[in-house]
């Protein structure tokens, strides 16, 4: 079997990692295993041996490790390659990734373009919060007729956003 990380070398090691309630098996060559920060133990360990003894302790050791629920990446893998496995990794490992991002870019706040859908959503959110403030003010003034108009507008806008 080929290494699941580089896809070139023969896999020598098997690691079991926990993703949510599931366990995922990863097959890695010794180079990638080292690179990704896994302990490689005896270089001659075969899969059979791994299954019989090494694996048992390894599984227990790694069971508590945080794993991205989407792609199965571990922090050790991200650290080893300097790259994440999917968009969700940025949430899963945000506490560890953000300091790294801060170090590279000197900030963690994006300035610049956004996808059109995002721009539209932001605009709608702006309108929504303005309407909400107007609604609150109308209720405060006991102007219920006007408040009902704002309420309906908010409902219509929210309906549109959900669609």
């Amino acid at each position: 079997m080929k290494c699941q990380h580089c896809g070139n070398n023969e896999a020598e090691y098997q690691y079991t990692i926990t993703v949510g309630n599931h366990q995922i098996e990863r097959y890695l060559c010794s180079v990638c295993a080292k690179q990704l920060g896994y302990k490689t133990g005896n270089a001659d360990l075969s899969f059979d041996q791994l299954f019989s003894d090494f694996l048992n302790t390894k599984v227990q050791k790694q069971a508590s490790e945080v794993v991205c629920p989407r792609c199965g990446s571990t922090w050790a893998e991200i650290q080893g390659s300097g790259k994440v496995g999917c968009a969700e990794c940025y949430q899963t490992f945000s506490d560890r990734l953000l300091p790294y991002v801060q170090k590279i870019h000197g900030t963690v706040v994006h300035v610049g373009r956004a996808p059109q859908a995002e721009t539209v959503a932001r605009k709608a959110e702006g309108i929504l919060s303005r309407l909400q403030a107007q609604l609150d003010a109308a209720v405060e003034e006991q102007n219920y007729e006007q408040a009902a108009i704002y309420r309906d507008e908010i409902r219509a806008l929210k309906g549109g956003m959900e669609q």
């Binding site: 940025y90 991002v101 870019h105």
Partner: protein, 341 residues
């Protein structure tokens, strides 16, 4: 027709400008964590959105043809090193190339002749708008466009220029330049990116920081930085020409003579000679060769381009002959200006 067939603004020093956007679709994990089916789906998505582009599958083409695409700066070397469905979508004039299945799902690249990073950015953003209609991008309000490598987060933009700096190289100023560019968030590299040598005194300068700075600001800072490098290179050229006119003329004309008569040319030798000829054309020591032809020669005499033009596998000796044939045809047009005695 390619970017090197035209001469743009500041064309004597700036060969081309480039804008590259890294984008991923939210629905799929990043390359390296995708199943082959997912890779195919992303590829189909991009192909469907850009159905008027030509698709070249790098995973099934011959290594030399694929290499030619790298040499012509249409794809990166990283794109060739994977397995599974991957390739490049090319616009008709090859000014836009969209790599699918490189480090990110798509890498949109716009190339323009001369010093025009703003135009390149505009073109890349147009394609970006088309692709985002196909499927939602992975985007976070705080971190911007999400990319496989955190170094591309935010705008996902790398804006860069390819510059010919023979005098700054000769003065040994590149190392200092590297250090000061680094402080400003820019990087200077050899012709084919990270870790490559600066063949033919050609360099690429691009931004390093992509987060916390808007696209237009990145481009405007690049223009400022490159603008001052151009001024320095021009100044050095003028000074050298004033102090050593005969030495400069000898170097450029001798190089043209060698290119016009050589039967065997290795790539490093040819690149060096081309650099001298290019310099000669820009400071009036040589005439008769259009600058665009020199640019074309710089790219098309690379091994992959030569083989893909020949249409068959050649030995390296033959490649050196082919290179010399190509160079002779162009360099023989050189006219030496009259010298007043």
């Amino acid at each position: 027709m390619s970017f090197y067939d035209q001469i743009g603004a500041e064309g004597e020093i700036v060969v081309s400008s480039r804008a590259r956007l890294a984008r991923n679709f939210t629905e799929y994990p990043f390359p390296g964590h995708m199943t082959e089916r997912e890779e195919q789906l992303v590829l189909d998505l991009a192909k469907g959105a850009l159905d008027h582009y030509t698709y070249l599958p790098v995973n099934t083409m011959s290594p030399m043809n694929a290499s030619a695409l790298v040499e012509r700066h249409l794809v990166s070397r990283e794109l060739l090193s994977g397995t599974g469905p991957r390739g490049v979508l090319l616009s008709e004039d090859e000014s836009i190339s969209v790599m699918v299945g490189e480090e990110d799902h798509v890498r949109i690249q716009a190339l323009c002749a001369g010093f025009a990073p703003e135009t390149a950015l505009k073109q890349a953003l147009e394609v970006d708008r088309i692709l985002e209609q196909a499927a939602p991008y992975a985007f976070d309000r705080k971190l911007g466009y999400l990319t496989k490598c955190p170094t591309n987060l935010g705008t996902g933009l790398r804006a860069g220029v390819m510059v010919h700096l023979p005098m700054l190289t000769e003065q040994g100023a590149i190392r200092d330049l590297m250090a000061s560019l680094n402080k400003l968030g820019f990087i200077i590299r050899g012709l084919y990116g990270e870790g490559t040598a600066a063949q033919g005194d050609l360099y690429q300068i691009s931004n390093q920081v992509t987060l916390g700075i808007a696209e237009e600001e990145i481009v405007s800072r690049l223009e400022q930085v490159v603008g001052s490098i151009l001024t320095k290179e021009e100044e050095l050229r003028r000074q050298y020409q004033k102090m050593y006119p005969m030495r400069l003329m000898d170097r450029c004309q001798r190089a043209a003579g060698l290119l016009a008569t050589a039967r065997i040319l290795t790539q490093p030798e040819a690149m060096k000679l081309c650099s001298h000829v290019r310099l000669g054309l820009s400071c009036g020591c040589l005439k008769g060769i259009p600058m665009a032809e020199m640019n074309r020669l710089l790219f098309e005499m690379q091994p992959g381009c030569l083989v893909s033009q020949a249409g068959e596998e050649r030995t390296y000796l033959n490649l050196d002959q082919m290179r010399a044939d190509m160079a002779r045809q162009i360099a023989q047009k050189a006219v030496l200006p009259l010298i007043e005695s």
